[in-house]
Amino acid sequence: MSTSHTSSSGESHGSVASYVIGFVLAVILTVLSFAVVSTHSLSPTGTLGALSVLALVQVLVHLHYFLHMGGSSEQRWNNIAFVFTVSFVAILIVGTVFIMTNTAAHMMSR
């Protein structure tokens, strides 16, 4: 009884191993982010690009290993709500930056 219980919980809620893998990946990505900025090895634009990629990958690592997001059917509505929110926030941020940059340019404040 207890063995079947442990193995089933290992899949849906994460196991010690999956948490450790997620943690190690997160540490590596965080250290890389700090290193990219502190070593000044890339151009400013390149640094920002590298930071964005590292942050995106780390967010995905956290979603998978810590929040246990996945494609299983019981998570369908969680995923739909998530996709809606991400699209919403993307439109919000990109739209805001676009409009405000444009306004600033036309008002010659930069």
Partner: protein, 201 residues
């Protein structure tokens, strides 16, 4: 008693199907995500409006930021270990891991409050420039969430004390807090990347 525990571990596979409570909490987290989205958008617009005041380059330092990030990251995995113990119904281990998570989170909030106090004392408070207004609004909203998480952790520790098993209701509470805590860590990834590191390039 033994009968009871068997029923409970068996029941575990049933609430394998996610509880509506947890889904409801997930939807709340999504709305919280939109709040942070608006604050990030405001910061993105105002990040260069220094009004002659200090820039991010002058204010932020690697040491404190690295320590805060490390504390939050480690607290994520300790909470995860707590959840694993909870699924095995090991109450004392759950309390222990929640306690460790609490201390790490407390360290994070402490460092953040200290950082804010230093900045305000140096004349770089939220009233100095639009950049600093946006910075304090965004980062302190995250800090406030972590503080709420800390209060929640203490509440659950108190509720768990003296019990020997974890009923489904308690499991739902632990799962919701788990989502909340890991969600805050994800927000922090965006904060240290776009607010701190991007200003230090």
């Amino acid at each position: 008693m033994a009968q009871n525990t068997t029923v409970q571990t068996d029941g575990h596979d049933e609430h394998h199907h996610e509880s509506p409570v947890v889904f409801g909490f997930w939807v709340y987290l999504m709305t919280d995500c939109i709040i942070f989205g608006t604050l990030f958008a405001a910061f993105a617009v105002l990040r260069n409006q220094f009004n002659g005041g200090p820039t991010g380059h002058e204010l932020f330092e690697f040491g404190g930021l690295g320590l805060e990030t490390a504390l939050l990251l480690v607290s994520s995995i300790t909470y995860g270990f707590g959840m694993i113990a909870a699924h095995k119904a090991e109450v004392s281990k759950v309390i222990m891991w929640l306690g460790v998570t609490f201390l790490l989170g407390l360290g994070f909030v402490g460092l953040e409050v200290r950082e804010f106090a230093h900045m305000i004392a140096d004349g770089a408070g939220p009233d100095r420039s639009a950049f600093l207004s946006a910075f304090f609004t965004l980062v302190s909203t995250h800090g406030l969430h972590v503080t709420c998480g800390l209060i929640w952790i203490v509440t659950l520790i108190v509720q768990l004390m003296g019990t020997t098993e974890i009923p489904e209701r308690m499991m739902n509470k632990l799962t919701c807090l788990s989502l909340f805590w890991h969600f805050l860590d994800i927000v922090w990834i965006c904060v240290f990347t776009y607010v701190y590191l991007a200003s230090m390039i």
